[in-house]
């Protein structure tokens, strides 16, 4: 079987158009930027009768050119996707095949956007997102991977091969390489993005990787926030010794090279000793404390409401906590038949490490600082996002588990 080219029969006339559109867009972007720096501040004119008029000045023209080039580029890219979906498998090359495989995601995205835009006035804050182009682009990117993860992980749709199976002879092969022995042209007859060092399909691994990230990253971030806030808020509020102690501990973990910590925590030897399990015992208790404090601080004036709520939430969360920390096959396994679930091996230790590494950053953002202003009031630098030295939760450090 022939290896696939990148764009197949579409490429013959779409590729030159793509290059022209991309070049036009780049030129328009540079022009737009230069005009913004050099040209007079606005193209608005005041008429003698006091009304305003926008004249066809350099700014307006640059914006129009950018928009035109951008639309052309977008249309060409859309043509690749639509062509790939419409043409039979393989005719539109690798790009076309990938577009076809992603068909469930395109449909889900189209439905989401159509419904959201149609009802955006009734959707509150979420609907506001669709008033801004940048907001829509960002939302589209996130939803694309979210739908991909769900389609691949739950419904087993997009991937063409098993992400872990190796097919001999395809080690480190370029994109579009045919699978030896495949006879029918169709999904599975090619490695769309080539083979990796262990002869597995890169495309399927990419798609399944999205599901792994969706499983770990959001929850780990929430946990890191809970641990960080539960420790950092009292440190910042009470100050004194508690602040010193917690800041010291937070700095201890922050000073640790993250990669070294990951290396030390996820080795098979470390699992034998059970340290990640014990860390889980310590770290997963924080959501319980967090929820209890949250309920108590909201309802402590209404005891008859607060006590039952606390009891119910502590019971449910406590049971979840005990089932979570008790994993068969680790040193901690005591729940027996009461154990609700076991997480597949590998996930918890990565999860625990991510939470452990990221929580001090959140804690530091609520904690104290060495400065006071001349008036004598404490000026807490780390509370304000973006102005402190990078340890703030609103910076990038917190919401990206495994980032830095």
């Amino acid at each position: 079987m022939e290896p696939l080219t990148w764009t197949g029969i579409l490429g013959a006339w779409l590729n030159p158009v793509l290059w022209v559109a991309a070049a036009a867009f780049a030129v328009a972007l540079v022009l737009y930027l230069l005009v913004g720096l050099v040209a007079p501040a606005s193209d608005v004119e005041v008429n003698p009768d006091g009304t305003l008029a926008v004249r066809m000045g350099p700014r307006v023209m640059a914006a129009l050119a950018l928009r035109a080039a951008g639309s052309l580029l977008g249309l060409v890219l859309l043509a690749y996707v639509v062509g790939g979906i419409a043409l039979p498998w393989g005719a539109a090359g690798i790009v076309g095949c990938i577009a076809k495989r992603f068909l469930p995601v395109w449909i889900a995205l189209a439905v989401t956007f159509a419904v959201s835009i149609a009802y955006k006035r009734k959707l509150g804050l979420y609907g506001r997102l669709f008033d801004s182009t940048i907001g829509m682009i960002g939302f589209g990117l996130v939803m694309f991977w979210l739908f991909t993860a769900i389609a691949a992980g739950v419904f087993d749709l997009i991937a063409t091969h098993d992400p872990l199976t190796a097919i001999s002879g395809l080690k480190n092969k370029p994109p579009g390489v045919p699978v030896p022995g495949a006879e029918v042209l169709g999904p599975g007859s090619h490695y769309l993005l080539g083979g990796d060092a262990l002869a597995r399909d890169v495309f399927s691994r990419m798609v399944h990787g999205a599901w792994v990230v969706i499983q770990i990253a959001p929850l780990a971030t929430v946990f890191a926030f809970m641990v960080g806030i539960t420790l950092g808020l009292p440190a910042g509020y009470f100050g004194g010794r508690l602040d010193t102690l917690i800041s010291f501990l937070a700095n201890l973990i922050l000073a640790f090279p993250v990669i070294l910590l990951f290396y030390l925590l996820v080795t098979p030897e470390m699992i034998q000793t059970g340290i990640p399990s014990f860390m889980a015992v310590g770290l997963f208790i924080f959501p319980l404390i967090f929820t209890s404090v949250l309920i108590w601080s909201r309802f402590h004036t209404q005891r008859q409401k607060a006590v039952p709520m606390l009891a119910v939430s502590l019971f449910v969360l406590g049971w979840l906590y005990l089932s979570l920390i008790s994993q068969t096959g680790t040193p901690i396994a005591f729940m027996g038949p009461l154990d609700l679930f076991d997480i597949p091996s590998g996930a918890p230790r990565v999860f625990v490490s991510v939470v452990f590494v990221n929580s001090p950053r959140c804690s530091a953002s609520c904690g104290g600082s060495p400065w006071t202003s001349r008036r004598g009031t404490t000026w807490r630098r780390r509370r304000r996002g973006g102005r402190g030295p990078g340890t703030s939760c609103s910076g990038r450090s917190c919401p990206t588990p495994g980032g830095r």
Binding site: L33, F248, L265, E269, T273, T372, R396
Partner: protein, 348 residues
């Protein structure tokens, strides 16, 4: 001020001790030691042989005692084997045991011996740190002016089209991780796939002789990623300064816009980026692991990976000491510098 610095240095010492003990404990857990014994004495040895190898090589003592030996507050271990020869922690091969010093820890300036590199830890760390330092210096040379110019141009007129284009660009380059941009750079600029064979895909030769051909891509990969972040911080700080009362006053007095930016806004806007840049330095030290592995540049990050992958205890401890000192020192400098730059603050 002196009190503050003294206290911070003391904290640094405490952190370094806690952290090295943590690393010591994690690397000296029983399964890890067993792995060391098996790599050193052969992978098919029995459990009893593992036990005796560990005892002979000083791993049999309690954890705290061995940590004390590494620190240099307790005398190093010695054993006498069947032939009567005395071996010990402080006795170099071929040295007369009577002449060897009793203590040989980090306090005596002895950082230990790296099992992976078959070399003294001090010299491994020295050479590797110098290599990463070279990479870091060039990254800073590229990144700092670029980021500041980008940030100031974007922030001086908030919401203008310059701002929007530059902000988009800086978000785009920060959102691209190094392992993506590095691979893209290699594919575009070094391979025959695109045909632009401008640069070298490997920076190994840059360790001795860095030039534009072999050093551009690693520097660019790290610098671009950090540049976007610092530019965003600079932009935030610049927009805030530009809305201040004194800027409006200057404008109303008839000062031209470039003068307002250069004379009045710039100095105040550079306070926040200063701390951000200082805090990039510890990240550069260990965060360059990916770039160093990608471009095969054998610096500090690469050494860290090698040491961690092979459980090289003394090298890992040395690396932790260096990284703690760098992290806390840059924090100290940024705190002191921040107070120096911003007269509204004083140290408590």
């Amino acid at each position: 001020m002196l009190m503050f610095i003294a206290r911070r240095l003391l904290t640094m010492l405490g952190t370094a001790i806690c952290l090295t003990f943590l690393v010591f404990w994690l690397t000296n857990l029983a399964p890890n030691l067993e792995k060391i014994a098996k790599t050193e004495a052969g992978s098919r040895i029995t459990d009893a042989e593992v036990e005796s190898w560990l005892d002979k090589n000083g791993f049999g003592q309690p954890l705290l005692v061995r940590y004390g030996e590494w620190l240099g507050v307790l005398p190093g271990w010695t054993t006498t084997d069947e032939s009567g020869a005395v071996r010990g922690r402080c006795i170099a091969s071929g040295q007369d045991p009577a002449e060897a010093p009793r203590f040989c820890g980090i306090l005596q300036g002895d950082w230990g011996y790296s099992r992976v590199f078959r070399e003294d830890v001090a010299s491994v760390i020295g050479t590797r740190l110098a290599l990463t330092g070279k990479l870091m210096a060039w990254v800073l040379v590229v990144m700092v002016p670029g980021a500041l110019i980008l940030g100031i141009l974007a922030g001086m007129r908030e919401g203008s089209r310059t701002d929007r284009v530059l902000s988009t660009a800086s978000i785009a380059i920060t959102a691209t991780p190094e392992y993506v941009s590095g691979v893209v750079f290699i594919a575009v600029f070094t391979s025959s796939a695109v045909g632009l064979k401008w640069f070298n895909g490997s920076a190994t030769s840059a360790m001795d002789d860095a030039n534009l051909v072999n050093f551009t891509l690693p520097v660019l990969t790290v610098a671009l990623y950090a540049m976007g972040y610092v530019a965003r911080m600079t932009r935030a700080s610049m927009t805030e300064v530009m809305t201040a009362q004194y800027i409006r006053t200057a404008r109303l007095k008839g000062v031209s816009f470039p003068q307002v930016v250069l004379r009045h806004a710039l100095r105040n806007a550079l306070i926040a980026p200063f701390t951000v840049i200082m805090l990039q330095i510890p990240w550069l030290l260990t965060g360059v692991v990916i770039v160093e592995s990608l471009f095969n540049y054998k610096g500090f990050g690469w050494t860290l990976v090698e040491a961690a992958g092979n459980n090289d205890i003394e090298l890992l401890l040395g690396i932790s000491v260096v990284s703690v000192v760098v992290v806390l020192l840059t924090q100290l400098i940024s705190d002191v510098g921040y107070v120096y730059l911003n007269p509204r603050l004083r140290l408590s």
